[in-house]
């Protein structure tokens, strides 16, 4: 498991931790069944507060990535591919919404927008 925290990021620290653990669960770097480090150990190792790591873990738990068992710690749950696809679809939708909003701001037409997309897709 790898966690790198940026103090300059727009994302709050709990969200950075959550995102990085989630990505590593999704790409298989952290396999299902893995016992994650305790909330307090993670806080000490990364130099952030216990409340921050607690929030990251509870977000991961409410989104179904991990399960926390009192006394045992937090375990990575198996990831359902359908749900995973759905999650990614949602993210792609959100990112495209931003891109479209930016395009509208400068009155870009659909054709030009598509051509950017085509170039990026092929690169």
């Amino acid at each position: 498991m790898k966690i790198v925290i940026s103090s300059q990021s727009e994302l709050p620290i709990y969200a950075q931790i959550e995102e990085q653990i989630r990505n590593q669960i999704l790409d298989g770097t952290i396999p299902e069944g893995t016992l994650l480090p305790s909330i307090r150990k993670l806080a000490r190792e990364t130099g952030v507060s216990v409340i921050t790591t607690t929030r990251a873990y509870s977000d991961l738990e409410s989104r179904g990535y991990i399960a926390s068992q009192p006394g045992r710690g937090s375990i990575v749950l198996p990831q359902n591919n359908k749900l995973l696809r759905e999650q990614y679809r949602k993210e792609i939708g959100e990112d495209l919404t931003h891109a479209i909003a930016a395009a509208r701001q400068i009155q870009m037409d659909r054709q030009e927008f598509d051509s950017i997309l085509d170039t990026l897709w092929d690169s």
């Binding site: 727009e10 620290i13 130099g47 507060s49």
Partner: protein
């Protein structure tokens, strides 16, 4: 469980010390076991008075303080032994050497572990031959930390304790403080002017001004409540500027703190950034001075 509970603590000094005589008014707060609380405010706001009252170095006029459920009145010995205190200046007798201090600590505290003391002292390269009065400021701080971290305590009360430490040592110490609370049974109350200390490890921020509590809040929530807003003078519509905290104008623009929950949305083109704890405190103080 609350490891430290302070209820309605008040302290009044004779008039010559303070304008209105009040050092602390009705201060209440609780620190749960396993958490670190940063205590901030201007010089003279009442931080040291609060910490000294917790230490029973001064008498409080009214209030109730409990550490791990025990009050000083019920069991002064246990109350004191649960606290590890590191202050701004050394409280060891000037003519003592390390050996003398090791002896008094062993006499005073049943839980004192000489081996742990020796290992910290050698790790921090404290000279055994010199008298304490010849120690540098940084060495004295290290010695105080070595003495509190080598016995069993439940709470650390730190009053500007990281002053005079070099960045390496400060970093090492912050990590040791996190280790101290790691098992969830101990807590730290930590007054400082160096917000970098707090930005990372503090769970709660406790802010006082003129002896009154301004807020006691989880740091993460605090950081999400405000944005730091900067823009040109023409962005300051009356509606919008009414929502701003600690507004500061200059010839070319303005900056202010903006509560995220407000319904008035900042005009387009205004820059908004995430504030640091330091900035939140600074703009709030500016706002308070304005409204006085």
């Amino acid at each position: 469980m609350d490891l430290l509970s302070v209820e309605k603590l008040s302290k009044q000094y004779r008039k010559k010390n303070k304008q209105n005589g009040f050092a602390l008014r009705d201060i209440s707060f609780q620190i749960p076991a396993g958490y670190i609380c940063g205590y901030v405010g201007r010089n003279g706001a009442g931080k040291t008075t609060t910490l000294n009252a917790i230490m029973h170095l001064i008498r409080m006029d009214s209030g109730k303080i409990r550490i791990n459920g025990v009050s000083f009145e019920e069991d002064p010995v246990r109350y004191r032994q649960q606290i590890g205190y590191v202050g701004d200046s050394s409280y060891f007798p000037k003519n003592f050497t390390l050996k003398d201090i090791r002896e008094i600590l062993a006499d005073f505290y049943p839980s004192f572990e000489p081996d742990q003391f020796d290992s910290l002292v050698s790790r921090w390269e404290l000279p055994g031959s010199q008298k304490i009065k010849n120690y540098s400021r940084g060495m004295k701080v290290k010695l105080m930390f070595a003495s509190v971290l080598s016995r069993s305590t439940r709470i650390l009360i730190l009053d500007e304790a990281t002053n005079g430490l070099d960045p390496m040592m400060r970093n090492e110490l912050l990590s040791m403080l996190q280790e101290y609370v790691e098992d969830g049974s101990r807590s730290i109350l930590f007054s400082t002017h160096n917000m970098e200390d707090l930005q990372g490890i503090a769970d709660y921020i406790f802010f006082i001004e003129e002896g009154r509590k301004v807020f006691f809040e989880p740091k993460d929530e605090l950081l999400e409540e405000y944005l730091l807003i900067k823009g040109g003078s023409d962005d300051l519509t009356p509606d919008f500027s009414g929502q701003l905290i600690g507004l500061q104008k200059n010839e070319f623009g303005f900056s202010a703190l903006y509560p995220v929950s407000e319904t008035v949305i900042p005009p387009a083109g205004v820059l908004s950034e995430k504030p640091t704890v330091d900035e939140i405190i600074m703009y709030m103080l500016r706002q308070m001075r304005k409204t006085v």
